[in-house]
Amino acid sequence: MLHTEEIDFVLHHVESTLTDEEDAKVADAMATFWMNFLRFRDPNGDPTESSPSSVWPKYTMKQDQVLAIRNADDLKVVQKLKFDECEFFMDFTKKSLEEDFN
């Protein structure tokens, strides 16, 4: 999944770019998440419903949960994704920016 490729999924370009059936299903799921977010401030949908969806949990630092979207039927909440890599790069970036901007 390359840089910028999420755009076609979020904007639901199933009639042009995403002609593959599986891709179209991912686009359905993603566009719906984003539209729900616009409307309810929650990608899962209406949080006031009697049994609201909880597919995509809120991010907390302790849980460090990310929704990994691989297929429309493979939406998985994963923990500590890129934890070690980002400990290193966030620290590297912060130090070098502080040096140059302050």
């Binding site: 370009h13 809120k58 990310v66 979207i69 994704l81």
Partner: protein
């Protein structure tokens, strides 16, 4: 929020911007600001292309020559530092990244790079080789098996993606705990062979676009070269680079359908 909104190059410090200006004036043979302001688009574009090759203007803040400047008026500081100081709007956000963000920024001569070559390259860029080696080339790390691409390439591509995109997103996600606005984090990772850019779009015969490379300045050249090589010389059709009116119309139709389904029931 994706696409390196907190990567180094989204804002440059004022001191560097002055150097960029001086280089631009020198390259354009312009003695004054008003002279620079009178250049037409083509001339400015040529200046930007040349600036990207002149040290120190080619660096992490301005890989394409020009970049927004922290001038203390429109932009206070670098967005990454603004987040660090909690000087950001308190609103809900979706933030995320894709698996292979670094691919198109990794030039074709790296496709078969060895791990040793990659470690050397990153060390020259100021990153400690032993850290990169441990993070990206440990024995238990599995990379996709794609013909024509080495393990070294994938390690470098992932490191580039993390440095430029994924870890900026993660930083925003972590800092969101300071605020009331909720954060949702996403990772988009369909299998690589499904990638519409490289594997299906390139195979299809589309109209060749000779101007794609000029659309995106320096990184655009990289982008086009990488894709062209990956597609065995076939240039990707322009249709997948820029949303055409038909795809925008479709997005609007999807939005209308969404709202008619959801709003007709509860929001009269």
């Amino acid at each position: 929020m994706e696409s390196g909104a907190f990567a180094p190059w989204v804002t440059q410090p004022m001191g560097l911007a002055r150097t960029v200006y001086e280089n631009a004036a020198s390259i354009a043979d312009s003695a004054s600001l008003s002279c620079l302001q009178n250049l037409d688009t083509k001339q400015l574009y040529d200046v930007a292309q040349k600036i990207a090759l002149v040290a120190p203007t080619f660096n992490k803040y301005a890989p394409a020559g020009f970049a927004p400047v922290a001038d203390g008026v429109e932009i206070g500081t670098h967005p990454f530092l603004a987040i660090a100081r909690n000087e950001v709007a308190d609103v809900p956000v979706i933030s995320g990244s894709n698996t292979d963000e670094g691919w198109m920024f990794t030039p074709p001569d790296m496709y078969n790079a060895t791990e040793a070559q990659v470690n050397e390259l990153w060390t020259n860029g100021g990153f400690p080789a032993e850290v990169l080696d441990a993070l990206y080339f440990a024995d238990d790390i599995v990379y996709p098996d794609v013909a024509g691409y080495s393990r070294g390439f994938f390690g470098s591509e992932r490191a580039m993606g993390d440095y430029s995109f994924a870890c900026g997103s993660k930083y925003v996600q972590e800092r969101s705990e300071w605020r009331q606005g909720e954060m949702r984090a996403a990772r988009l990772q369909p299998r690589i062979p499904r990638s519409p850019f490289i594997f299906s779009k390139c195979a299809a015969s589309g109209p060749k676009c000779a101007t794609c490379g000029t659309k995106r300045s320096t990184s655009g050249a990289f982008w086009q070269t990488s894709l062209a090589t990956a597609c065995s010389g076939k240039t990707r059709s322009h249709a997948s680079l820029v949303p055409l009116p038909s795809t925008l119309a479709h997005s609007r139709r999807f939005a209308r359908r969404y709202f008619s389904q959801h709003f007709s029931q509860t929001d009269k």
